[in-house]
């Protein structure tokens, strides 16, 4: 089991979610995050006080899937979330020790 963490542009969330759903991946968790990478921030002005904001709003999607589906999911996310401009985001993959379904008590692969 692997956890796929994808940090993407907020506007791309619907595309990614729909595409994943079409491939049978329906379970995901989404959080609103702010972060920075190579993308420059923006300048905001409030009554003359200038703020250069380096942290930019993004969306983080977390999905846990069986090992055999990892490549497919990453491929989908890369396709749907890409614009070609700096700031498209990153995907991280980590190993998951176990998973449980709370309602049924299933664990391991059955829980996914």
């Amino acid at each position: 089991m692997k956890k796929i963490e994808a940090i993407i542009r907020p506007g791309k969330l619907d595309n990614v979610k729909d595409a994943l759903g079409n491939q049978g991946v329906n379970g995901l968790t989404v959080t609103q995050v702010i972060g920075c990478g190579k993308q420059k921030g923006n300048t905001q002005i409030y009554r003359g006080a200038e703020y250069i904001i380096h942290l930019i709003p993004k969306v983080k999607i977390e999905i846990v899937v069986l090992d055999q589906y990892v490549d497919k999911v990453i491929q989908i996310i890369k396709k749907e979330a890409r614009t070609g401009e700096i700031g498209d985001g990153k995907i991280f993959v980590t190993a998951v020790e176990n998973a449980y379904t709370i309602r049924t008590g299933d664990n391991g692969e059955k829980a996914l």
């Binding site: 905001q44 409030y46 009554r47 003359g48 703020y51 904001i53």
Partner: protein, 409 residues
């Protein structure tokens, strides 16, 4: 007693009342999320404190029988003798109670304005004591000098239709002193102090603009042509100032902001306040254009340059805007609009501008010194400012034990 005048003034009173909750929202949206409730609380507690202070001592000190031009007597302590019959000295066609209530709304919002400069760092008990002392020793005498029968500034011929001196210059310069005495917010210049809810601020600004119709037109103290003139002047100046701010901001910073446009309108409303019942609508355009521009410069350029932390620009808006408005009255007042006023510089009379300048100067000196003394006196017995940890956590939680927005569920 005139039923038209009475109903108009009573409605104006309610309309001006709404300006204080409006101010709460205007200020509230501009502070950081962790301090929004404490900012709302400043205005709200003033509603409570001043409503009582005014009927107990404030009204009589401001409008009671004159003592040497400096203060009113205690004839009307606790509203003794203030009843349903009109007072012939003040608003002869409406119940004395109505005049008192209308004035009360001015007495309420004036100290509430000061809370803008000390936002996000003042200790609550100290704030309460400050309000009570400031109202009694600054607002009440000043209202007497400018509006009371026998008040020396009134006798001198200074014109202040709805409170340029009494409300805006007084609160504005006091706010500056308070900001200096309390010191800058921790992290100013480094941490983000950006507004947390600009729509709330815009809502507040809208309520203020609305309320100002009661503030200025109601100050005609009658449902008549002068009220209509003040109404039109008020709207015109607000509009001109909002546009001016949007334009200046665009030129200076490249973009016009809604926060700026809303602030500009408020600056224009401040500027027209002393002259609303003395000038023409065309003059109001000029007053608004200059008011918006001057306040923009005060806030966006001078504040940073001089380094004082007038957090919500009580001084930049009310102090500076009120000063311009009072002087503008000295330029643009005309007896063709209001025979009870005087002619200004533009109409060939040079003395009014001098009188206005003098009354502005006296107001500034008095409020600055008095506010300083009051704050220092309070500091002898209690803390003015919260400690670093409280300021870090935010006043909502540390002073009031509440959070504005439930983050999780």
């Amino acid at each position: 007693m005139d039923t038209g005048d009475t109903s108009f003034i009573m409605i104006s009173t309610a309309v001006v009342f709404l300006m204080t909750p409006g101010l709460a929202l205007f200020y509230g949206g501009m502070v950081r999320k962790k301090n929004v409730l404490s900012t709302l609380m400043h205005s709200w507690i003033v509603l409570g404190i001043m409503s009582l202070q005014w009927i107990l001592v404030g009204y009589t000190l401001a409008f009671g029988t004159d003592f040497h031009g400096l203060i009113g007597g205690l004839d009307w302590l606790g509203l003794n003798g203030v009843g349903m019959e009109p007072n012939l000295d003040y608003a002869a066609t409406i119940p004395a109670l109505s005049f008192m209530a209308f004035q009360m709304m001015f007495a309420i919002i004036t100290p509430a304005l000061i809370s803008g400069s000390i936002a996000e760092r003042m200790h609550f008990p100290a704030f309460i004591v400050f309000i009570i002392l400031w109202a009694t020793f600054v607002y009440d005498p000043l209202a007497h000098w400018v509006w009371g029968v026998g008040g020396f500034l009134r006798t001198l011929g200074a014109l202040d239709f709805a409170g340029g001196n009494v409300v805006h210059i007084s609160s504005g310069y006091s706010a500056l002193i308070a900001a200096l005495v309390l010191g800058k917010r921790k992290g100013l210049g480094k941490d983000s102090m950006a507004p947390h809810h600009i729509p709330m601020t815009v809502l507040g600004a809208g309520l203020l603009w609305f309320g100002w119709f009661g503030f200025n037109a109601g100050s005609a103290l009658g449902a008549n042509g002068l009220a209509a003139m003040a109404f039109v002047n008020t709207n015109t100046a607000a509009a001109a100032a909002a546009i001016a701010w949007a334009v200046v901001e665009r030129v200076h910073r490249g973009k016009s902001t809604i926060l700026g446009a809303a602030s500009g309108a408020v600056a224009g409303l401040v500027a027209i306040t002393p002259g609303a019942g003395f000038v023409t609508p065309l003059s109001s355009i000029v007053i608004g254009l200059v008011g918006g521009t001057v306040c923009y410069l005060a806030i966006s350029v001078f504040k940073a340059k001089f380094g004082y932390d007038d957090a919500l620009d009580a001084f930049g808006c009310h102090g500076i805007g009120g000063t311009w408005g009072a002087l503008a009255t000295g330029i643009f007042a005309t007896t063709t609009i209001n025979p009870a006023g005087a002619d200004g510089l533009f109409y060939g009379n040079t003395s009014l501008l001098g009188i206005q300048a003098m009354s502005v100067g006296i107001t500034i000196v008095f409020t600055v010194i008095a506010t300083f003394i009051i704050l220092k006196a309070i500091a002898l017995v209690m803390k003015l400012r919260v400690n670093e940890e409280q300021e870090s956590i935010g006043l909502d939680l540390s002073l009031h034990g509440e959070t504005a927005y439930s983050e999780f569920v």
